[in-house]
């Protein structure tokens, strides 16, 4: 079995993703960065962008996250995001519902999700 790293994606309302994978690519505020097992301990600020989980050299899960912070240790990475959406499970109808009385930040986020899907 290939070397894996434990990934947790947490938002204020739920634990969105918690599993092991070969690699995860995180949208840092200084640019995208990939995290493989035994990555150096890092604390990185994040910006809006897609978070890709890789297994067998292919993307297996995609999330859109809206800012936050990533806490990377050699054996695990924790991503704290204020808003996050699973791009494989999201429906346009649900997104439109969210747009009703949404704040500017939310509207921008929902539009970004639509673009990414």
């Amino acid at each position: 079995m290939a070397d894996v790293i434990k990934i947790e994606l947490v938002t204020p309302s739920e634990m969105l993703f918690s599993d092991s994978a070969e690699m995860v690519v995180i949208p840092g505020s200084e640019g995208l960065f990939g995290v493989l097992p035994r990555h150096a301990a890092t604390l990185a600020n994040l910006q809006r962008g897609t978070l890709n989980v890789y297994n067998n050299d292919a993307i297996t899960r995609r999330f859109l996250i809206d800012g936050g912070v990533a806490d990377v240790l050699p054996e695990r990475v924790i991503i704290l995001a204020e808003r996050a959406v699973d791009l494989d499970a999201v429906s346009t109808q649900h997104l439109d519902e969210q747009l009703v009385d949404a704040t500017d930040a939310e509207v921008a986020f929902v539009n970004a999700v639509k673009e990414a899907v």
Partner: protein
């Protein structure tokens, strides 16, 4: 001796009250489960956030650290965020918040500080009434509920952050009911600015790489941490409110039951006494012939 018709009416009215209280108890119990789940779902996020901030704070140089972390040197004004319920009928829930707030205001004023209040929820503001009209910084109602919106909490914390940078106040703490379990709630006073840090926990922060540097990260994270803390306090408070309501309504239902029993006893005694009296009248009437 009360007459039978009055007693009957009273029994019926207590019975319908009992129906209401037991329905409210059931509703609170059902909602409580969901509120508890969402409070628990929030715990990983807020505890991880705390952990990250504590690690960063131990690394940041005290001289250049943001005011949100270390606080201001001279503290003149305190902001208290008071979290109570929008609705009553939940036992001592709102009363204990109001009492704690009063104590806290008294304590701070004795220290020569002035106090501002951010009232979340209707009931504590009603309870404190005129005592606090000159101290209100902001009031918000209908914020809590089954689906607490993170973005709405964010607008609350934005107002607080703006107020802090305008030096409207120099210290912020939040008063809310902590959910311990379904029968216990605890009034907690937690400081938000400056941030409370568990120094004892070794987070192994010494060999972290920071991207961007520590201070910039802290500046990004501290405002978010305020929102997170308020958010989790509101979730806890809502769960505690429902738990308090459930217990209060359970007691009310039981008391109504006791009352119905004793009223029924009086009713039956009165009925018997009436029958006996009528019999005596008939018999003595017959004897007189």
């Amino acid at each position: 001796m009360a007459n039978l018709k009055d007693l009957k009416t009273r029994i019926n009215s207590v019975k319908s009250t009992q129906k209401i209280t037991s329905a409210m108890k059931m509703v609170a119990a059902a909602k409580l489960r969901r509120a508890q789940e969402s409070a628990e779902a929030n715990r990983p996020y807020s505890s991880l956030m705390q952990q990250v901030i504590s690690g960063l704070a131990s690394k940041a140089s005290k001289a250049t650290a943001p005011e949100l972390l270390v606080g201001r040197e001279t503290v003149k004004t305190h902001l208290l965020i008071v979290v109570s319920a929008d609705k009553g009928l939940c036992g001592g829930f709102n009363g204990s918040i109001a009492r704690q707030t009063r104590l806290e205001i008294k304590r701070l004023e004795e220290e020569g500080k002035s106090v501002l209040l951010y009232m979340v929820g209707k009931k504590a503001a009603d309870n404190l009434g005129r005592e606090i009209t000159d101290k209100i910084f902001e009031r918000v109602e209908n914020l809590q509920g089954s689906n607490l919106d993170y973005n709405k909490v964010d607008t609350v914390s934005q107002k607080i952050l703006t107020g802090f940078s305008d030096t409207s106040f120099d210290h912020v703490s939040i008063i809310y009911n902590q959910f311990v379990n379904a029968i216990t709630q605890n009034v907690a006073v937690t400081p938000l600015i400056p941030v409370q840090i568990n120094e004892d926990k070794d987070t192994g922060a010494s060999n972290y790489e920071y991207e961007p540097d520590e201070n910039e990260l802290l500046e990004q994270l501290l405002p978010r941490n305020i929102t997170t803390q308020i958010y989790s306090a509101l979730l806890e408070s809502f769960a505690a409110e429902l738990a308090a309501r459930m217990t209060a309504m359970d007691n009310a239902t039981r008391n109504a039951g006791d009352m119905i029993d004793s009223l029924t006893l009086v009713y039956n005694r009165t009925r018997q006494a009436n029958i006996t009296k009528e019999l005596i009248e008939i018999i003595s009437g017959a004897e007189a012939l």
